[in-house]
Symmetry: D2
Subunit: 406 residues, 4 copies
């Protein structure tokens, strides 16, 4: 029997793996197990979770099931989209951004129930273990972390199934269950494993669970209008929506039109490359829309500074450093820039494409055709450009006159 843990809060999905962990924790640590199951929009039926946990011996008062969809989108997804965060040029961080939220609630429940440890079902080679644990340590520095995948010897599918059988854990065979390793929440679904382990092998058509195949998407495009306030989308086609409702609606629209599929080889924080496929229908629309409203309302210096710090911000989230002073500092910088990001964007959705059809801000537009037209105007004397260019070039002129060559 391992020592040192009295009560552990487990991130429990109700699935086979975390059910095995639940059992294994009790058997190996002899500690009380508290389960935490969050609805973050993964679109699974959580009703049976309580029964499953009880069946595995968890006391009812130790079973926590919470709907975190609003908190997730409001406090994590939207702040991240204010930054136009993209990892390695393409990935919208769908898994990464959910992990600190789970960590926060694991810790919160531990504090409420007198727990001294948390546990999760992430493997020892992935990013998620890091994201869970960095978050937990940041919020509860004394917490103990049990990561069974790094401890046990159930390191193959066969051993897991054998353990489940031995311990009376039901192995459900849902018809149509995906054979891929998946993660899902209101922002995205991800797929790993099987044929994806060859980066030269395209995914099977039937892997994708959420979005319509662009080729089978409607032949008619659909135009929508999103209203932004302080950098966040607040109304869709004129209807005010809460953050999670907004993302939900955009997901439906994006999914219908085959938007947001991504096939990627990425660099994990733990050091190796991995290949994943992602569906982020609503997020893909939001990124395009946010850039469009910013293009109209954000000062150039602000916009370029945001672009310069974005890769670092995205990397911090990918690597699990949401609860770090540097992410909070960057967020302060980003949020400061969003005061004027107000207005409306019109988008056309069509077979995988998101086209900007218009953007407008009655209160905060910095676009004024009078200044950009080539004809005369009151503000801009074209002769000013002489001096602007001459002084911008001065260091080159001096260098050239000093004999320096390109």
């Amino acid at each position: 029997m391992k020592n040192g843990v009295k009560k552990v809060v487990l991130a429990y999905s109700g699935g086979l793996d975390t059910s095995i962990i639940l059992k294994w924790l009790g058997d190996n640590y002899g500690c009380e197990v508290v389960t935490f199951t969050a609805d973050i929009g993964q679109n699974e039926d959580l009703a049976p979770v309580k029964d499953k946990a009880i069946k595995l011996g968890i006391k009812p008062e130790n079973i926590f099931i919470q709907d975190l969809k609003e908190e997730f989108v409001r406090d994590y997804v939207f702040p991240m989209f204010r930054a136009n965060a993209v990892y390695e040029g393409e990935y919208l961080l769908g898994t990464s951004i959910a992990r600190p939220l789970i960590a926060k609630h694991l810790v919160q429940i531990a504090k409420e129930t007198g727990g001294d440890a948390i546990s999760h079902g992430a493997t020892g080679k992935g990013n998620d273990q890091v994201r869970f644990e960095l978050g937990a340590y940041a919020l509860m520095p004394d917490v103990k972390v049990i990561a069974p995948w790094r401890e046990w010897d159930l390191n193959s599918r066969e051993k897991l199934l054998a353990y489940a059988e031995k311990n009376g854990i039901a192995i459900e065979k849902k018809p149509g269950k995906s054979p891929y390793s998946m993660d899902a929440n209101l922002l995205h679904i991800s797929y790993e494993g099987l044929v994806l382990e060859d980066p030269n092998h395209a995914p099977e058509d039937d892997m994708w669970r959420w979005t319509t195949d662009p080729k089978l998407a409607p032949n008619e495009s659909e135009t929508i209008e999103i209203e932004y306030k302080n950098g966040d989308p607040v109304a869709l086609n004129g209807k005010a929506l809460k953050p999670h409702e907004m993302l939900d609606e955009l997901n439906k629209l994006g999914a219908k039109h085959g938007i947001g599929r991504l096939d990627l080889v990425e660099n994990r924080y733990v050091g190796m490359k991995s290949r994943g496929c992602y569906e982020t229908p609503g997020g893909t629309i939001m990124l395009k829309a946010h850039r469009a409203i910013e293009s109209l309302t954000l000062d150039r210096g602000a916009a370029h500074l945001k672009d310069e710090i974005m890769p670092k911000y995205a990397e911090l989230i990918y690597n699990g450093f949401w609860f770090s002073p540097e992410r909070v500092m960057l967020q302060a910088l980003i949020d400061e820039s969003q005061k004027h990001v107000n207005g409306t964007v019109r988008l056309e959705l069509y077979k995988g494409n998101v086209f900007v059809k218009g953007r407008e801000s009655k209160t905060d537009s910095l676009f004024n055709v009078d200044f950009s037209t080539f004809e005369e105007d009151a503000v801009f004397d074209q002769k000013d450009a002489n001096g602007f260019i001459k002084l911008s070039a001065l260091r080159f002129i001096i260098a050239g006159k000093s004999g320096r060559k390109f």
Copy 2:
């Protein structure tokens, strides 16, 4: 008569505006005019240019017409694409990257012909004047620059036409000529003006000259294969191509499948926002393909450093600082990273979309499924993650134990 210029080299397109400038230069500066016309893939018939120039009084030996397509793609476009350069999240810098090339040749011809000045037809409110002139000053610090748009009073369409008529400059009325202000080269076409001056007004369907409307693009997708060597595409579907041939072929493919349209509000270097539409069919494919081959072959540290410096690199090109020490330094950094960017990318083109279907590098892949799979392997001991996470978290743990809160 203005003084101080003996011989000026004019960037001459053969069109109305630069024909007027040609005439105006002689009339106002009393100097000899040399014309320079470059074929950079703008897809216009340059045959009549010589006759036009002669008709306007230019001596045959002062007329320079050069095919720069290969130099353009090899020495400007490809180096830029090694950086995955994108301005303000979306713009592929199609106009920006051509200007320093023109500047270089203007200066070169000035040096060869004993010219002391250059001239161009860019207006006083745009970026192009800056790009031409910074390049010229960097390469010939004593050069004089004549920018008629900033000098003359022909600041409306009417005055221009009147001047042309008065000076016997033919005003061609090409049937089907676009009413938009356009720029074109092998990398892209841009559109400005007219309805685009309202950023909430979508462009008319018939504005686009190059790419098929995605909705009218083939219902059958097309899969292609691009081979990369040191970060540059070198073969298409197994056939080796020179840089400009490659871009030309990718343009045809992209155009056919409705790829590369962009509708953007952007921040000009001279300080105001402007709205433009762009078609960059081949470039859009290349960006996707280059990221894909890098995803397989580039080290994470290299990739992230590239992403961090990219916005600055793109800004330098946009602003006209191609011939600057800092752009050259960044290029050295980027090029250093591309030694191992070798391999093949398979892409599917479909109605505006570019989907990655596979990537492979026989010589330089850093992807190895043995390291990323969750099962055991020889290199990676999952227990190593314990220490990795614990030390990554240590500063948070210490802060938390010292009483600091998030």
Copy 3:
């Protein structure tokens, strides 16, 4: 007579140059002139300024003389020192940081008095014109700017003196007046011109007006203690001081011990290099002290992020972009980091040197010898380093095993 200005607010020092400008403005623009003179610690007697202005024909109600020392240090100097801002590795931005303050008050007075223009005495080749004018335009976009040095033909000392004589402007010959071009405020004095125009020529010993020559400074060192609160110094040797009192005291201490002399070739924003000498006694102490208290209380991620953005922040201030969205965004990032920068630093001052002798934070220290000693401790299992290093190295190991060489 030039047109278009009704009432201009002039940054008026009372010296010869701005007295000439005062006169010249009336003569050339025929407009009412308002003078603004600020005490920002330049240590000049401002009492005669009012009389001088009246003598030159300014109405008493148009003469503004204000003590801005507290505002200067509290709202400009201290926020900048939170960033450890240094331009080009050495310059503490003493002139740069005062200009936006002046611009702000010029504009404020213009608004109060119904003025439509501002004017200043900065020359057409320097940075200060940019700093004044960018600030003014940012705060009052319709403002007109009159920069006489860029307009008039009084472009030599002789012509200036002749103009003064002709217009009855008294040319004071203060005994001991410095022949150098100087700028002074509570943060620093700068010197330009004369022998300094040869960067290989050291300044004369008698150029320096503020600090003791280090060689003549006391042979006994002096130890002081500065207390920090939220990143700002608030008490000296146990005595609470207001911001400008603090800087004043540190200046006296620094000056006494020969601290803060700098001899620099720098890159001006307008494109050329210039050579200046600076005395920043108190600022030099504050930079050292602030870094010391941060070293104890700031998280590593926060500290490194601050270091990474600092050069850009310093460049913005140097170039005159204090009132820009991007400076404000960076300030938000910096200020967010300073909540925990509390504690006390002990420094020894000796003949040009500032030595840190100790730093302590009862509330916010992140230093704990138990974690850094090589002996055992509760938090840190040395074996954790195995995994930390192994995973940090993993990408190199994989690359190496894939045949990649350094």
Copy 4:
């Protein structure tokens, strides 16, 4: 007996700790031990090292003692100083930069002698273990690493001494031996431990081994002249010197004048803060001199780009990532900038201070007083500043006219 290692190359200093490790390796791994001792200017007598190793049972052909001073300074120290690298605002990276060199030679000897492992005496809480091991893995991905401090239970001074006694390892009691934990090489000496473990406790005067106490340094200053070529110092007072000779001479000069002492709390890569004191006499002079010659010869864009990337470059070296693609890429950028960094710097050394007294470059100066003086010149029309400022301010003007407020 631990398994899996046949022949290990140990970084052997000849001191007590690595002698114990030498013995312990044989006893615990039963493997052949090869010793490697490098002279990198630590100024210790290496003559007895061979005898010691033989006495501890090492075969003569397994004892490697090499003078790496030239390689160290030429290939590591100088490239780093081209970047003006400083960690956390103050630390000149004296220890950090030596570790990859040692790692490189450990690996090289392992390859030559058929070794399969390397070992070192760095503890499990410090940075050096990371630096050694990252370097080793990068250069020899299959290498095994033995870090005894992380494995054994000799985790106190007492246990170590007991082990030494038991195994007949001589414990020398050198008179005057420093009680601090020290590291020394041609670039610096560092001190840790004892009273330094309280960051509020100043070091004892007799801790410093290299530099004169500034208060006891000569009352007469000394002026020296350093010539730079491509960013590296190549001659001192007119005499050409090899890299290591140069650093050696500058060390003597700096030490004599009390230059280069530093007392610092720093953030270790492994997550905690530690306090160290450093002496870097020659390096302190070189940093000042290099900045001075760059100030005259480096373009502004190049200089600012260097400053922006420097913190990342310094962090990479501090953290042990010398042999990483990103450090190599940054080096390419830095080295590209140094072509024109040629000329001579004159410095005055006095009681802890390094004052620049002049800088000159006959071939590469970009300073020209004609451009910076306020009087008229041929290149710069002061009126150009109008347009320069107006267009730089345009985005603020437009924003202000659109109603946006600061």
